[in-house]
């Protein structure tokens, strides 16, 4: 079963990420059973029906705005933010906004081109679930990669995981 890093632990996870191909219109979709993340367009089209469905999440691509999910956050159990390339850093802001501005308490999952050297930054910005692509890392590598969550023990600046900057958290020697 595919692996997921959830709150710093490696767990099994079988949620699918539904990706529409060009021939599929979001309006005409029937969803198979089981946990799934649907694209924002599908959520928009089937909100009434999908709302509150067990195991349902919504995923946003990096150009999509988290603000557009704001009215629906109470009925979405998990949100995945896609990294189409690992150098596309928009999802860091998106996650931080979801947690701080929009007060989202559900799972925020990093999907797409997710590499271990980003884990630390992701965690700081409010991702509590991190899912490298299937096959990217072996289970042993993933186990080892958990260390990257702890690359830096005491960061300077405030972020989602440490809402206060170091100068408020600690008394620093002059």
């Amino acid at each position: 079963m595919p692996k997921l890093i959830k709150n710093g632990q490696l767990i099994d996870d079988d949620a699918r990420i539904l990706v529409l191909d060009e021939t599929q219109a979001p309006e005409e979709l029937t969803l198979a059973d089981g946990p799934v993340f649907v694209p924002f367009a599908v959520w928009q089209a089937h909100k009434g029906q999908l709302s509150g469905r067990a195991g349902l999440g919504v995923w946003l691509d990096s150009h999509e705005e988290v603000e557009d999910l704001a009215p629906d956050l109470d009925s979405i159990g998990a949100i995945a933010l896609n990294f189409p390339k690992f150098t596309d850093g928009r999802a860091y802001s998106a996650a931080a906004l979801l947690r701080t501005r929009l007060g989202y308490k559900g799972e925020i999952r990093a999907i797409g081109e997710v590499l271990r050297d980003q884990f630390f930054f992701m965690q700081r910005c409010g991702f509590d679930a991190i899912q490298p692509k299937a096959g990217k890392y072996s289970d042993a590598q993933l186990e080892e990669a958990l260390a990257s969550l702890k690359d830096f023990s005491t960061p300077y600046q405030a972020a989602v995981d440490q809402p206060e900057p170091l100068f408020r958290r600690a008394t620093r020697s002059a």
């Binding site: 690992f86 150098t87 596309d88 850093g89 928009r90 860091y92 802001s93 998106a94 931080a96 701080t100 501005r101 590499l115 050297d117 980003q118 630390f120 930054f121 992701m122 700081r124 910005c125 590598q141 690359d151 830096f152 023990s153 005491t154 960061p155 300077y156 600046q157 405030a158 972020a159 809402p163 206060e164 900057p165 170091l166 100068f167 408020r168 600690a170 620093r172 020697s173 002059a174």
Partner: protein, 560 residues
């Protein structure tokens, strides 16, 4: 200067461990080239023509003698006995082997140094006035603010993968010596009517392919809010800066496309959420950091030193150096010394391990153990007693660090260019050296006076050619190296972007071209008029005429 506490040290030590592991995984084939690239770049490591190049951060250009000795040691142990001062006040090593870079970083960490965010699409080393704390025209010392911003920007989790690199500069004096108008964010320290410290904020300036002068988006941001304000700018940029085209990804393009008013509106809207939040600066934190930048233990001296005047009168070579490379200091009896790295025998900005050691010794003996690097690629001893200038000069001269040309034509800015840099379209160092060879007569250089000549080997503009009074840009034409010349650029308070004078030139033509430009200036200048002032008064036409000749200019006009 700022000294690390255990928190700072731990972050840098953890970075060494992190990069050691990243390098190990890369060499073991666990990281692809594409995956490793941003990681190594955020650690200042480029893969260049001959070898990797490692760029070491020198926050706002400030160095201790101990750090400079370490740089010398690294140059000797891991490189070819020299280092290079960059146009962003950093140091570069041109020849380290990839495998030993973690070792170099570990060595740097022992002297509170690192290579964090010296490249890559992140917030880069923050630059500032090399004369901070000693210039007579300073309102507010920029160094503590640079340090506060350095800490905020170091490994900022939200801004590690921006659309493109992001450069911040801070200035706190009447004269801008940090090129703040050509930065992604330019900060000018100022006081409001009540005497409170704050920042005028410019945004969207930059050189590169599309040179743009930054525009003001805030007249006065009180100091408490500078982090949250910058964070708002960065967040808007991170979300909406273009990522589809590398050449249009800098914040300047976003600001231009939205218009500064709309960009400002978006920033203010974002800022409303962060303002007064936990990142609001406290007096205690600013005082803690500012406590590291205290006034050195100056002696109380009365006015100018008589011996210094006598030494100048007795020794013309010393007088020439003093006239150009010694600058006024705000404390009576002290002076600021520019140690020139523009000896024509070397590449501009290069310094040998031996010279680095001498600089460290000079700093310890004569300048409270501190050294500054300038974006014009020289080094500065900021606190030398006038009575000791002669001793400094003798030692610097013996080590070829006393070229008496500060601010003159041959004190040029020059990127490493095609000799080293994989991005370059053309070589720049040989052009610099050829111009230095042409203008080797000191009396003639003094006659020409203040003039800034900047050379970049490609559009990325590391050599700041856009803001050179004379700018030279290396271009590629059908696989050959050519050089485009612009005039009228300027840094400082009257920042302007130079204009190209016409068709480009072959390398061999360049000394003649510069001679012709200088001849036009000397023939047409008014009494006391500096080169840039003549260019501003006359425009480009007389210079085009001087360079291309009447026939060529006429033909060009007809074809236009």
């Amino acid at each position: 200067m700022y000294r690390y506490d255990p928190y700072d040290q731990k972050i840098v030590d953890e970075r060494v461990a992190q990069f050691r592991d990243q390098t190990r995984r890369y060499l073991a084939g666990e990281l692809t080239d594409d995956e490793f690239r941003p990681l190594r770049l955020q650690n200042g490591l480029y893969i260049q023509r001959h070898a990797p190049m490692l760029r070491v951060a020198v926050p706002y250009g400030l160095l201790s003698s101990r750090q400079v000795r370490k740089l010398a040691h690294i140059a000797r142990t891991y490189d070819k006995d020299y280092a290079h001062v960059t146009t962003r006040q950093n140091f570069q090593f041109n020849w380290p082997a990839l495998e030993v870079v973690p070792e170099i970083l570990a060595e740097l960490a022992t002297v509170e140094m690192h290579a964090i965010q010296t490249s890559g699409a992140c917030i880069r080393n923050i630059t500032s006035d090399p004369f901070a704390g000693v210039a007579g025209d300073e309102y507010i010392d920029p160094r503590p603010w640079c340090e506060v911003l350095r800490q905020w920007s170091t490994f900022h989790p939200e801004f590690a993968f921006l659309p493109r690199k992001f450069k911040i500069a801070v200035n706190g004096a009447a004269e801008d010596r940090a090129v703040i108008q050509c930065h992604d964010i330019g900060l000018e320290l100022k006081r409001d009517a009540a005497g409170e410290i704050g920042f005028r904020v410019l945004v969207g300036g930059g050189m590169g392919r599309t040179p743009i002068i930054g525009e003001e988006i805030a007249d006065f941001v009180p100091w408490q809010h500078i982090i949250t304000y910058c964070e708002a700018i960065l967040r808007v940029y991170n979300r909406y800066g273009r990522r589809d085209n590398l050449y249009k990804a800098r914040i300047k393009i976003l600001v231009k496309s939205l218009g500064v008013a709309e960009f400002k509106r978006q920033v203010e809207e974002e800022w409303a959420f962060g303002k007064n939040g936990p990142s609001t600066l406290t007096e205690a934190e600013v005082a803690r950091v500012a406590g590291h930048f205290t006034t050195p233990a100056y002696e109380t001296l009365t006015g100018d030193d008589a011996g210094y005047a006598a030494q100048r009168a007795a020794n013309p070579a010393f007088a020439a150096w003093a006239r150009r490379n010694v600058l006024a200091h705000k404390v009576p009896g002290y002076a600021v010394v520019v140690l020139s790295l523009k000896n024509p025998a070397r590449a501009p900005g290069d310094i040998s391990a031996e010279q680095l050691e001498l600089v460290a010794d000079l700093a310890d003996a004569f300048s409270f153990g501190e050294i500054r690097a300038t974006h014009e690629q020289n080094l500065v001893l900021a606190d030398v007693k006038q009575s000791e200038l002669f001793a400094v000069w003798e030692k610097a001269r013996a080590s070829s660090l006393a070229t008496p040309t500060f601010g003159l034509l041959t004190d040029l800015i020059c990127c490493p260019g095609g000799d080293f840099c994989a991005l370059a379209n053309a070589k720049s160092i040989p052009i610099a050296n050829a111009i230095q060879a042409r203008f080797d007569d000191l009396d003639y250089l003094y006659e020409i006076g203040d003039i800034e000549l900047n050379i970049s080997g490609c559009m990325n503009s590391c050599g700041h050619h856009h803001v050179g009074h004379i700018g030279i840009l290396g271009v590629d034409k059908n696989g050959e190296e050519w050089y485009q010349v612009s005039l009228g650029g300027s840094q400082g308070n009257q920042t302007s972007i130079g204009k190209v004078i016409g068709r480009s030139f072959a390398a061999a033509e360049m000394p003649d071209v510069i001679s012709k430009i200088v001849d036009v200036y000397l023939a047409q200048r008014l009494a006391g008029e500096r080169f840039i002032e003549t260019v501003r008064r006359l425009g480009l036409d007389p210079f085009k005429l001087g360079v291309y000749g009447e026939a060529a200019v006429k033909e060009r006009k007809q074809n236009a």
